[in-house]
């Protein structure tokens, strides 16, 4: 999904560059809060990890294989700010060194693949972790959903950027369908791998998983056959009744979310069909050529309309999710400013 030079026109690339620079500046400040002066080595090593894990191939079926994009994984493992930084650095180095993704399209690539995936994944993840019971398995489940949504969200953002500044004349409906359709499939793979990886880390070193902070049980000592709290371990922030409303909002959000997931799931065969369609495009063209109206299939009114509406629904869905998520966190943050705990989220979107 690395966008090359010349794919998006110059003004929009510049605007995306400004957005990316702003977000990276915010993340630099935020990462210092997440990691203090350990930022440089730790974020660097995590970036190297993301870079390496993108090369780890996950075989899908005979011959084909996929790999991790890593935005959601980074957000959950090391926190949103560090996650944005790590993925941005990976993209920067890929652009400068490996010529993977154009230099002028760097802003577009960062906005799309570093910022969107990480922020969407983290917001969804936090909401789900709040709503689900405080268990390790819910961390895994939440990271599944977060990664599942982050990839199509990136596709939607790409489509938006393309709609504003695309240099080619392919209709937005088609781009949206192709991008979202294909990336829903990719998202499923990403979700499974991310959830399994987060699960593996949580099982061994739960303290390293940023998203699972606050899930650790306080250390208990057995003194004379009786469990006693070990001194010096801070008790996790108690959940108060006044936060019920927040929880409910989160629940509704996740229901909306689930609705869209099922929507996507039912659209899944369409995505597959679309890919097959694209892959076998010349065969298709030949077949139609005998009809005398080549590629007429692409102009079928109701199909393209349905696809367009699908894409629009996706846009609205992700938009609603992000807005609702941010709203929930804004409320949570307002409520909690009094008693700051280390696990508290200070997300400013």
């Amino acid at each position: 999904m690395h966008v090359p030079d010349g794919f998006i026109n110059a003004p929009v690339s510049a605007a995306a560059g400004v957005v990316a620079a702003g977000a990276v500046a915010v993340s630099l400040r935020g990462a210092r809060r997440e990691l203090d002066e350990r930022t440089a080595p730790l974020a660097g090593l995590v970036a190297a990890f993301i870079f390496a894990v993108q090369m780890l191939n996950f075989p899908v079926a005979a011959g084909t294989s996929g790999h991790l994009l890593g935005g959601a994984l980074a957000a959950i493992l090391v926190g949103p700010y560090t996650g944005v930084l790590c993925v941005s650095v990976v993209l920067l180095m890929q652009g400068v060194l490996f010529a993977d993704g154009g230099l002028t399209a760097l802003g577009v690539n960062i906005t799309d693949m570093a910022i969107t995936t990480t922020v969407v994944a983290y917001l969804v993840f936090r909401v789900l972790v709040k709503v689900l019971p405080r268990k390790r398995s819910s961390v895994t489940a939440a990271s599944f959903v977060a990664a599942l949504l982050s990839v199509p969200a990136a596709a939607v953002v790409f489509t938006l950027i393309y709609a504003i500044g695309g240099t080619t004349d392919v209709s937005i409906g088609k781009v949206a369908t192709a991008m979202v359709g294909v990336h829903v499939l990719i998202g499923i793979g990403e979700a499974v791998i991310t959830a399994l990886t987060v699960g593996a880390v949580v099982a061994v070193r739960p303290d390293l998983v940023y998203g699972a902070r606050g899930l650790n049980r306080p250390l208990k000592l057995r003194v004379g056959g009786e469990l006693v709290d070990a001194a010096g371990t801070p008790a996790p922030a108690a959940v108060r009744g006044s936060q019920r409303k927040v929880w409910l909002t989160g629940l509704v959000t996740s229901l909306v979310l689930a609705g869209f997931v099922s929507f996507y799931a039912s659209a899944h065969p369409d995505g597959l069909e679309k890919v097959a369609h694209d892959k076998g495009i010349d065969a298709k063209a030949r077949k139609h050529a005998s009809d005398g109206s080549p590629l007429a299939g692409y102009g079928v009114k109701d199909v393209s309309d349905a696809r367009l509406s699908g894409g629009l629904a996706g846009v609205i869905g992700v938009g609603v999710t992000v807005v609702a998520g941010s709203g929930v966190f804004w409320v949570v943050r307002r409520r909690r400013t009094a008693d700051t705990s280390p696990s508290q989220l200070t997300e400013t979107v």
């Binding site: 030079d5 690339s13 630099l28 930022t39 230099l103």
Partner: protein, 253 residues
């Protein structure tokens, strides 16, 4: 460590392009790519001139054409995309070899292919004439936030270490009879990825402690500060300036 200390992307040499300070080269490549992207796609001859300019740079840098072309292969996914474009784009159509293609789509495909290829070629030339460490210094000179440059330098420095660790885990899996052939084996691979994360993170902590014990206080000392003379700047900026002339001609003609 037995294979030299330069990255495989770098091609060692002593050409005038190699000896230019890294930040002038970075600025030149960036300006060149911006100029290329803002050229109107109808001016086909302009892109030929750009390619000629890059070829001249490659000649001056003594980068063989085969090396350059091999590295251009990274672009293939987008070539595939560009090939699709004339089929799916809208607008008036022309008949080419019995297939009806969209005129706009053809222009779009040409646009992406030409600009993308030139961009990739410019980046490849930059990476093959500039050492990684120099490139990072150059980024720092171009006022990229120092923390970002530090993160990038750690990533570059430990990228090979982490990749090697991944390779060793792969060998360990395979020597125990594991062979990933489908979705059923994702669990094992994901556990490896998790283990790799833990190892990377712990290595990061160790690296930090080692740095602290050597007096690190949040910023890296700049040992070799590179500066560029006016002559070097003007030499490096010849490329984007020539490209700018071509671009303006493209708009006027």
């Amino acid at each position: 460590m037995g294979a030299g200390h330069a990255h495989r992307l770098y091609r060692h040499g002593h050409s005038p392009v190699h000896t230019l300070p890294p930040h002038t080269k970075l600025a030149a490549v960036l300006c060149f790519v911006i100029v290329v992207v803002s050229t109107p796609r109808e001016a086909m001859w302009a892109f030929a001139l750009y390619a000629a300019l890059l070829a001249a740079v490659a000649y001056a840098a003594r980068v063989p054409a085969a090396f350059l072309l091999k590295r251009l292969l990274i672009e293939i996914p987008f070539v595939a995309f560009a090939v699709l474009m004339p089929f799916v784009a809208q607008g008036e159509r022309v008949d080419v070899l019995g297939m009806s293609l969209s005129v706009n789509g053809l222009w779009g495909a040409w646009n992406v292919l030409a600009k993308g290829t030139l961009g990739v070629a410019a980046s490849v030339l930059l990476a093959s004439t500039t050492e990684l460490r120099e490139l990072l210094l150059g980024l720092q000179r171009l006022k990229l936030p120092p923390l970002l440059v530090q993160i990038a330098s750690f990533m570059i420095r430990y990228g090979d270490v982490i990749t090697d660790e991944m390779r060793r885990m792969k060998i360990a899996r395979e020597s125990r009879g594991f062979e990933a052939s489908g979705v059923r084996h994702w669990g094992v691979l994901a556990k490896s990825a998790g283990a790799l994360f833990i190892r990377s993170y712990e290595r990061g902590e160790r690296v930090h402690l080692a740095m602290v014990s050597r007096g690190y206080a949040g910023s890296m000392p700049v040992i070799d500060d590179v500066s560029a003379s006016r002559a070097q700047w003007s030499y490096a900026l010849t490329l984007p300036c020539a490209a700018l002339v071509v671009c303006l001609l493209g708009w006027v003609l």
